[in-house]
Structure formats: C-alpha cells, structure tokens
Symmetry: C2
Subunit: 762 residues, 2 copies
C-alpha cells in the first residue's frame, strides 16, 4: 500500500542537493538576453520614444516598442479556454504598451548579447511621457470623472450580484442581531524563490519552443498562440523544475514576449529573466479587497444570513480579473451552507501592479472578512468563538445553495473540535482574565474556511495520464499536471503504485512537461491536481493493470480475472501468495517475444465532473506586547479535512508553507504603493518583509480524514487551504487579547500602533 504513507518526495534529494535543473540552468549556444524598459511613472502616455541610440550600441540585436508588436489584445490569465464566449478572460494586454498603467509597465524591450549590454541599451532609449493622474484608491478609480485606464472600461472589469438560499429580506428581518464590518486587505506578492524566467527559440521545423517556469504549460501554449496569432501546433512549451509559483506562474507573463522576440529575430534563442525587483511589480500580486460584510444572527447564535459586498482591485491589467473575487465568494458559501447568502462583487482597475492568481484565489481576503465578522458576532452574543462556529458549521448532507448539490464529506465540526483540543482552548479560555490589562496581553483566536477541489463546474477540469511499463517491470508516469514544488509528482506516483500493485520506488515520474508529448492537463492551480488529475492517474493505472493481467493470461493461459498484481508480481488473486511471474518477466515477454505482445502502455484523458469542498480551521494562542506593537504567537494549529491524506509528510509540509504564508500576510507583508503617485516603495526583499524562519513560530497541524467518495482515493484539496485562516484567527486573537478589532491587513507594528493609539492603549 503506497497511499497514506509518508514516502520521500520524488524530487526531494534533487532539490535539497541542488541537482534539480530549473529554467535558468539550461542554456543554448548563442543565447541572447532580453530586458524590458519599464515605465518610471504609474500612469502616463508615451508621446515620444527614440530607440536609435540603443539600436546602434554594439551587441544589440533588436529594440522593440509598442510600434513593433501585434496590435491584437490578449488575456494572460492561465485559464483553460472556454467554449462560452461570455466566460472568456479580459483581453486588455499588448506585448508592449504606449500607455504606462503602473510604475514598471513595459514600454520597450531590448535583445542583446549579455546583461551588461542590455542595461546599457535600456539607458539609451529616450522616452517622453505625458503624465496622467494615477488612480490607486477605490474612490478615485470609481469617481465619475476618473480617466479610463482601458478604453470603454469605465475602470470596471465586471460586477455581479446574487442571493441564494432563501428570502434575504425576510431573513434579515427575522434576525435578532445584525452585525456589520468593513475590511481592507493589502497587496501582497507571491515571493516564490525562483523569479519568472523563460526562453524561446525556433526549432528546425520553424516552430517556437518556449522553456518556461510555468504552472500551466498547455495553457501557455494556447495563449502564446492567441497573442501572436501563430498556429498553436507550431508552439511547444517545456516546463523544467519550478522554484515555486503560488499562482503567479498561472499567468502567461513572459512566454508571449520571448516567443515574439525569437520569431522576430530569426529563431535565435532569447532568454527573458526577471530580477527580484521586476518580479515584485512586473508579474502579479494579490488583489487588495475592500469588503463590507453583514450578518443576520438569531439570539441563539444561528447564522441566518450573510451578505458581502466586495470591491476587488485588479490593478493595471485584468489578468484573472473578476474570477478571483467571484470564485472566492462562491467557495466561502460551503462553510455555513444553512445560511442565506447575498453577494455583490465588483472588480476594478487601478494604477498599480496587476493582480492575478495567488494561493487561495481571493478566499484569504473574503475569509478574513467573514471570519472576523463571525468573531464579532460571537462576541456580541456572548457565545464562545468555538461554540458559535460549531453551531453554524457545515454538516454532511447540507446543500450548497449555489449548485444546489448536497455536500457529502464535511469534517469542519471535527476540525474545530480537534483544534480546540490541540490548543487546549477551553482550559486556556477559563484562565484568561477579561478584560486584560498590562503591557503584554494574551488572546485565543479561531477562524474557519471552506474551499473547493478544482474549478468545476465554473471551468472545464481536464486531466490525463499515461503509463509505460518498462522492461524491468517499473513504470514511467507522464502527466500534464505540473509539479511546482507542492509534491504532486510524489502523490501521483503513490496513487499509481497503489492501484497498479507495485512499489512506490518502481514508479518513475517524467516530471517535466512538454506540450508536444505530455498528456493534456490544464496545470497547477485551484488545488486541483490531487483531486482532478488523481482521477486520471487512477484510471490509467487501472487500465495498465488490466492490460498487464490480460497479457499474463495470454502467456499463462490463465483467466486474467483470477489474477492480481501484488508487490510487483502477478499473483493468484485468491491466495495472493502464489507469484505467477514477476512484472519484469511479463514485461520482457511483452517487449521481446517474437510472436506476441508489444509495449504495454495506458493513457487516459478525462474530466472531473464533481468538486468536493475541503474544510478546516486555524486556532491560535498569542500574546501582544502593546508598547512594542508586537505579536508573539505561542501556539498555532491548522486542522484540515482534506479527505484521505495521500502523504502525511508532504501534506504537513504543504500546511506549514501555507501557514507561514498566511502569517506573513497577517503580520508582515504589504507591497506599498503611494496612493497619490502610484510609486512603489518596496519592490525588493529588503523592504518588503517576508517572514523568515526567525519570524515564524512552531507550526502545528492536524487532519480530520473524511473519505470523499467522488475521488478514487477519497482525497480533497490541500494546496491552497492552509493559507486561508491564519490572518483572521490572529485578528480574532488580537481582539480577544486587546478588545481591538483590526479590520485591515497587515497587522504589522505600524497598523497596530495606529489602532492602539486610537484606542488609547498607547
């Protein structure tokens, strides 16, 4: 049995020993470097651009501006194509722009023999801008006289509103308490270790080959095709190892440009690699949200209705645009599904770096608001925070009101109870004095979440897997789903071993995707791969097993139905002890018997037609040094119902990473944009505070293992969920300790100082 075991990651040794090869580790003879000229201002029109001097610099192969690029706008969001034209992404991008929309926007690009020459060439390009008023604040963007960032957009990408679950008005009227709050979340950046990097060349068939650090090679291929109006089947995208993506590589950012450049310059290999400063502003960030939440609650603490009105600012370009807030709102409904939900959401433009997908995809923001409000509700009613959530939390059999489908597995209540026990909630609660006094105060906090496993039925959920039985009885596994550090190769290998009946070590994962040969899969996002791709892997392994047993029947004359595979041997199914032959011997016959057989492979491509919600919570015990405006976390636990855990060790790793990211957003991280000028203050890792090992407390985790019947191994999503609840749990614990509700992020010393000062604590 391989599923459920803490086997070592397939790529573990490669990565810790530095052997793993990333995009930048590959080179080609004659490779050139490309570099962007970025706008120094946040909003302005290019009125003159002169590249003459740059072009004349020795070592410069080309200089391109807005005038040189195709004029068809394209969308960069890494979504699968939608057959419904209404469902498409917003195409508001050109390869280069003549209108800067954020400080760092791309107005020109140079291709040169080396980095030094590139820097020099960039300095020789003369640009004259007409300054326009930068729009950063929501009210500025939506002002009736605001200039339009994109033509005919009114600066609004999309809005939608709905009510589900019953009569909203009636429910509000029947509620004993109405609780309201306004929440603001900040811009944060993914800060993956490996910056964005791509290179491209034209192969000998005049096809464009792009090697890129991408989560979505198959989607990138399509988007490059659209951006350049170049035939899709003449584009090939290869994905080496990736040093983290977190959604930022679910956007097609560098690929269209490198493809364009090699196409323009006779097919020579050209690398475009962002440095950290560029990556911080020139890729994607998390959407800042302004969220008004309202809840109607009965005296007994039943949540009757919840209402959120969210404005999501996508920054300069749409990227994933309205999908983010829309998806996040919908995923949150699974948490307290017996309530009526009203939701309104708008996504607007602004003159700062484009927001896109980031771990949690809008849910961290929405959940920060909702779970903060739930805390306020519990406090208003005088109900313990844990009890309030236990009362309202989802139960199996509840109906999700959007899709009107019953929720099958829902371990949220058990997660809350487990969290309560792990942190010794009741005992600590009993000993905490209220209100507290003194410079250092203690608090307990909890926050819950629901999330989904993929994007169905909003989007198509395709997945494919191919297996090859090798001569030595081992198997090669090919998937289009991408290992981006999250451990997907490892769990796919476990699933294959489990279903095939061989050992984990005998499954070799061909890790790096290549759209020419890799089975189709839309890639790493939406916590979809274990759940969605796992279904294809299981079916491919099952098909391979059937073929192997059928061939064992051919060799032995036995009935394949009476055979099975166990630890790499064909055995009699009943006894399981009697090895008929080894997989290796069978395989050698299939490959080399002159009169029968052939290579045994299997391939399955399918689509997920279900979507299972995951659940969980964070519980935290912290203390606050009020004069220092400093939070110290004593204990923090994330408890997850992610169905059956395929690999406890790597799952714990996922949780630790997500919690650290959540704590970072809660207490430290913010990309600071001047609200008047649009100037970015901290586009680097010195000024942008990502928590280090010194800032992160011991992280605890726990699992509530439900068995999700829509997944072959009972599993649900775990990739993104860990990031969702640290911030609201910490906010609630700070409230618990100080009585002060901090409804904005990050809750860094600067923010705390303001709130503590206003509250008279300082």
């Amino acid at each position: 049995m391989a599923v459920g075991k803490s086997v070592q990651r397939k790529d573990g040794v490669a990565k810790v020993t530095g052997k793993a090869r990333y995009t930048d580790d590959f080179s080609m003879p004659g490779m050139r470097v490309a570099k962007y000229l970025r706008s120094p201002i946040a909003h302005g029109r290019v009125v003159r651009i002169d590249t003459t001097r740059a072009e004349k610099l020795p070592g410069v192969d080309g200089v391109f501006t807005f005038h040189d690029v195709p004029k068809n706008t394209f969308a960069t969001a890494g979504h699968p194509f939608s057959l419904d034209p209404e469902h498409g992404d917003v195409a508001d991008r050109l390869l280069l722009t003549d209108c800067a929309r954020f400080q760092g926007d791309e107005v020109a690009v140079v291709v040169t023999r080396d980095d030094m020459t590139a820097h020099k060439a960039l300095s020789l390009i003369e640009v004259e801008y007409e300054n326009l008023k930068p729009l950063i604040r929501m009210q500025d963007v939506l002002a009736h006289d605001a200039p339009e960032l994109h033509k005919r957009s009114r600066n609004l990408i999309k809005e939608h509103a709905y009510t589900v679950g019953g009569d909203y008005k009636k429910a509000i009227e029947e509620s004993d308490h109405l609780i309201e709050g306004v929440f603001e979340t900040q811009i944060v950046q993914h800060c993956h270790l490996e910056n964005h990097s791509s290179y491209a060349y034209m192969d000998d068939m005049d096809r464009i080959v792009i090697v890129s650090s991408t989560q979505i090679p198959h989607i990138a291929r399509r988007i490059v095709s659209e951006a350049l109006n170049f035939p899709l089947s003449r584009i090939r995208v290869i994905k080496p190892h990736i040093g983290g993506g977190f959604g930022n590589k679910q956007d097609v950012i560098l690929e269209p440009m490198v493809a364009f450049l090699t196409l323009k310059l006779g097919g020579i290999p050209i690398r475009l690699k962002l440095n950290r400063e560029e990556c911080m502003v020139g890729t994607r960030v998390r959407h800042p949200l302004h969220i008004q939440v309202k809840a109607g609650i009965s005296q007994e603490g039943n949540l009757n209705v919840i209402d959120y009105d969210a404005v999501s600012n996508t920054g300069a370009y749409a990227s994933h645009g309205h999908s983010i807030v829309s998806a996040a709102a919908a995923k949150t409904h699974y948490m307290y599904p017996r309530a009526i939900y009203r939701c309104r959401a708008r996504t607007i433009y602004g003159n700062f770096p484009s927001a896109g997908a980031m771990r949690g995809y809008g849910s961290p923001q929405i959940i920060f608001a909702v779970e903060s409000l739930m805390e306020d509700a519990a406090r208003k009613l005088g109900i313990d925070s844990v009890d309030f959530r236990l009362k309202n939390a989802v139960k199996p059999g509840d109906i999700n009101q959007i899709g009107k489908r019953p929720i099958v597995t829902a371990g949220l209540i058990e997660c809350i109870e487990k969290g309560r026990d792990l942190i010794d909630w009741d005992k600590k609660r009993a000993t905490l004095q209220t209100p507290q006094t003194g410079p250092v105060r203690k608090g307990l906090g909890i926050a819950c979440f629901s999330y989904l496993s993929g994007t169905y039925p909003s989007c198509v959920e395709p997945a494919s897997a191919r297996l090859i039985l090798n001569q030595d009885g081992s198997v090669n596994l090919l998937v289009g789903a991408t290992e981006i550090g999250q451990g997907s190769d490892t769990v796919f290998a476990q699933m294959t071993a489990e279903t095939l009946g061989t050992s984990y070590e005998k499954v070799h994962v061909v890790s790096n995707q290549d759209t020419d040969v890799t089975p189709f899969d839309s890639g790493a996002y939406a916590s979809r791969q274990t759940y969605v791709t796992g279904q294809a892997v299981m079916r491919a392994a099952s098909e391979l097993k059937d073929k192997i047993l059928a061939y064992a029947g051919v060799i032995t004359g036995m009935n394949p139905g009476e055979l099975d595979i166990d630890e790499g041997n064909i055995v009699i199914a009943k006894s399981r002890q009697t090895a008929v032959m080894s997989l290796k011997d069978l395989s050698m016959d299939a490959y080399y018997n002159k009169n029968r057989g052939g290579q045994i492979t299997s391939e399955v491509s399918c689509k997920a037609l279900t979507n299972a919600p995951s659940y969980g919570c964070t519980v935290v015990d912290l203390e606050i040094d009020i004069p220092m405006c400093k939070v110290k976390i004593n204990e923090i636990y994330n408890i997850h119902d992610a169905g059956v855990i395929i690999n406890p060790l790597t799952s714990e790793g996922q949780i630790h990473g997500g919690m650290a990211m959540g704590i970072g957003a809660a207490l430290f991280e913010v990309l600071m944009v001047d609200p008047d000028s649009g100037r970015i203050y901290n586009n680097n890792m010195l000024d942008y505070k990502v928590p280090t090992i010194m800032d992160i407390p011991g992280l605890g985790s726990g699992f509530v293992q439900t068995h999700e019947p829509t997944h072959p191994y009972g599993s649900k999503s775990l990739g993104e969920p860990p990031v969702l609840t640290p911030a609201p749990a910490i906010r609630n614990a700070i409230l618990d300790a100080t009585g002060i509700a901090i409804n904005e992020l990050p809750m860094n010393p600067k923010t705390l100082f303001t709130h503590f000062k206003n509250a008279g604590l300082l």
Copy 2:
C-alpha cells in the same frame, strides 16, 4: 490522399538551411570532453600503463584505463534483446581493453575541460605494449597455431551450414554445367557525414541521460544497462537529428562509455565525439568476405542449385558478428527460389577495425558473388544475361525454401524487363561487337537482388506509434522508429494523413526520440521502418480516427458508423460532401467542453509477424579506358519492386544515395589494412576515396509497384536495396567489355591494372 505523393520531406528545409540540431549542437554548462587513447599497434598486450602525469595536468577531471572499468563483457550489436539465450550477441567487449586488437583500440580515456587539454593529457599517458602477431589474412586467422584474439574463441565466432530446397547431391549430378568462382570483398566504411557523438549527464533523479547520434535509442538504453550493470529504467537515451548512420549507428559504441564516465564523475555532462580519423577505425566497417560460389545449371539455363561458402571477417570484436553473413545468405535465397541452396558460413576475428552493420548487412558481398557467378553462367551457356535471369527469377507463388512460406509479391521479372527497356539493352547488345578491341571498350551489365523488410522471424519486430489530436485539429505523431536521414518521418506522416483523412501538413512528427516517453521501437535498421513501423502507424491512425468519429457521434447524436473524415472535416460517409464539423471544432469540444470529452490520443504497440521480400536490379552501360584503367559509366539504372511507393521523390533519393554508395564500393572505396602489420593506411577522407559528385554519373531509377498484402499500404523495403547491385552489374559490364572477370572489390584503377596486365591487355 497522401500516400503515393512526392510531398516535401518533413525535415527538408531544416536540413538544407542548417537549422536541424544534431547531437553536437547541444551543450550544457560545465560540459567536459572525453577522448580515447588508442593503441598504435594492431595486436598487443598492455604490460604497463602509467596515467600519473596525465592526472596531474590542470584541467583533467579523470583518466581511466582497463583497471577502472567494469569487468563484465558486453555485446554492442544493436539488436533487440532475444528471449532465446542461444540467439544472443557475442559479449566480447569491455569499456577499455588491456589487449589491443586493432590499430586504434581503446586502452584509456581522459576527461578534461577542453579538447586541447585532452590531447595534452593523452600524450602524457605512458603505455608499454607486448607486441603480438597481427592476424589479418583469413589463412593467418584460421591457422592452427594462430594466437587467440579472444579467449576460447579459436578466432571463430560462429559457423553454420544448411541445404534447403531438395537433394543437393542429386541436383549437382543432374546439372549440365557446374560454374564456380571465388570472390573477395574489401573493407569499406560507412562515411556518414556526422561522426559518432554522444554526451551524458546524470539528471536530478540520479538517472543517466545520454544524448546520442544513434539509430537505436531504445536498444542503446538496454545495452548501456547491461554494460554498466545499471538499472535500465534509470537510463534515458535521447536521439536528436542524425547526419547519417547506414548501420554504423546501429551499434552501441560511445554510449556505454559516456554513461560510465558521468557516473564516475558525479554526473557532470561529458561529451565524447569522434573525429573522422577515429570514426573511420574506431566505430564499425563492412565485413570483408571471402566467398566460394558454385552453381549447377541445366543446358536450358535453369539454375538447379547454388552453393556458397562464405568466410566473413568481423575484425577485432564481434559486434553483429555472424548475423551479417547469416542474414545475407538467407535473404539471397528469395531471388531464385526454385533452386536448391546450400550454404556454409563462418565468421572469424581479425586484427582490424570491427565490422558491424552496414547498409545491405552482408548482402552486397554475397550478391556480388552470386550475381557475378550468374553472369559467368549465362556467358558459359551463351544465353543473354537478361534472359538468363528472366528464366530463373522469382515468380509470385514461389516458395522460399528456408521458411517454407510462399512469396506473395515478386516483381523481379518486371524489374529486369523495365531495366532492359530503360537502358535499351537489346539494341545496344546488338551493336556491341564481340570481342572488342581498342583502348576504350563498352559493356553492358546487369545484376539482381532480393532483400527482406525487417528481420522477422529471426528477430522480434516491435513497433509503436502514438497520436495526439491537437486543439487546432492537427495531430502530433510520436514513434520510436528513428529518422536518420532516410525520410521515415515523412512517410509516417503520409501514412497518418492517409488513414486519418487529413492533410500531410497537419501531421507534426515529434522527430527526436526520448526513451522516457517515446513509444517503443527497435529503431532504424534492416530496412524495417516503413514496413514494420508503418503497421503501427496505420493502426494508431485508424484507432485515432475511430475515437474521433465516436466523439463526433457524442457531439452530434449521429451514428459514428455513418461518418468519415475527409480533408480534415468530419463528413457524412455516403455523400462525402457534407461537412458535419471540422476536426478543429471537434477537438476544441473534446478539450474544453466542461461535461464531456478529454484529449483524444491513440497508441498502438505491435509486432510484425510477416516479412516481405523486395526485389530489383541494376543495369549499367559503361566504357573502359584500358590504358587509364578507368571506368566511365554512361548510363545506370536501379529498378525496384518495393511494393507501393509511399513517396516517389524521397524513394528516388534513397535509390540515388544507395547507388552512389554501391558505385563507391564497386570502383573506389577500400579501407587499406597492411596484411602483415595491421597498420591502417587511409583512416581519413583524403586517402580513403569516397566518390564525390564528380565521380558519380547520372543515376536513373524506376519502380515496379506491386501491392504487398501484408503491409497496410502495400509497401516493402527500400532503404538498403539500392546499394546491393551496382557492384556486380559493373563487374559484369566490365567482363562484357573486356572479357575479364574481376572477382574482387574495389575495381579501382589499381585492381584493374593488375587484371589487365595479367590478361595481357597492358
């Protein structure tokens, strides 16, 4: 319809524009170069080898000798593994030797930072040899007191003898004429444009990756595994474009060494690239044969019996060993199958470069002997050379006496007739005076051949193909069969287009094999790919079509049985006019419909269980300047029955290349080895005379298109056959012109001078 058309080669533009990337066009950061230390003597034992000084040279990463390499001998012949232990290749190789067996044998290897350092390091290795007597001449090798080149070999690799078709003795007795001859063929070398080159590194999973100019990536993988005793599934072989192989890359020559070196040196990338001098002696050559042939013929010109006794000298190491002469003898039986055949063959060792596979695989030598003897027979009986062959040539329904299977398609008679007409044989024959006089004399010659399409039933014949329907309605084709310049990618694409019902341009061939992902196929040899792999390609295309039509049924609700694909559209099968939808639209639905479909692919792995003989002949009209000892070809034609011709243009190219190679072996080429010292005189392209465009006359070709029922498109082998008959046809024409039978090759001025002198013509 794509089959039968002269479509442009898939790789044509890439190759003529220099865009095609070969093994040497790839590099990796930190790549090192390896170079062999080669023995200066042809036979001798290393009694002392001191690498100390070389090791100390800056820039040297490693120096390895016999003492450092694994001590398990391995075979290098690129044959598929045989489940029959009796059928295995001779394992007489180590990675490095302490006993030099030819001038150029590999006694040490250095790994250094660059070529200059490698040369310097080699010069610092001190080696002391004990000289042993070199064995070059057959009689020296087989002398009872000859030293053994390989232990317990008696210098004989294998011998076998058989008689088929009837009572040999009786047939001899009943023959009116017994004709006999002894023939000697020379050592020639393949002289492919691209020398052997491989590099290897260890990937991040500690697997060995080998990039190599090989005809047989999947077989190379297995042989490296055997040579290093390293798990097969931890070896990956990648084959880029190849600049010719002709069988010399059907041996696993450099791959085990580069794999060994990277394994020894921590996985760094190491390139081993032979220069021309090394390639001429350190790879493989064509076996020189000593052949005694006897034929029993009736007064009417019926060939009753044919008897050959061949001694094949494989040189220093076995490589393909006895397979060559054995296969060649067997393939020749298909030409005159109504005769009784007696065959005896021996393969021996000798102190010169190892012989291996080369285009024709022994048949050029055997056919030179047989078709020369047939000429002598015709002349003895006074029957016209053409008529004599017409009388005895194979007819459909004849039985091959070895396999006792009927020969289904046999266009040899039509080929001979077509050749006779093309060259205007009868008219010219009538005008040629006999005997001729004067310094310049004219002659006509003919020679016929039979050949097979693959190796079944001697060897397993596996082939696989995988097809992917792309979003734009085009398809990607993956095969394990290797494009080595012969045009296989092109004909596979034609077959796919034909069966699928789309255009040739819409089939993209993923040309470069990678054993991790490429469907299994044993590779390019034995003229097998069109015939053997074609079967897998057709079945994969047919499977893809079925899946597409089934999915069209899902979309439209129509009966898939009533649909067809025509020029990239789904059409109503009956009317063929009505396009139901385009392949692109269908594919987009399959990829992106949220509730159905999936990527449509097909994969077939199968084995050829048949083998069809190809036939043909060369006719030549030439003149000889006797004082100059110079042959001038006026007209030469190759006529082929290769079944249905998939691509007339590329087939003609195959024929031209083969004819040039055949003319080269007939008139120019010989690798000269001193029979006493084993010294090689001409290991380079200045001294070894390969014909250039100036030496090759206009080449004519013709096809007799039979329809071979065992092949889905009616095709048979064409890769090797063109090389088989130019030499005997030229020999026969020289005999016709001068009355002198030259029974040795090459018939260069030096040979002609000796013969003309002996005959008193000079």
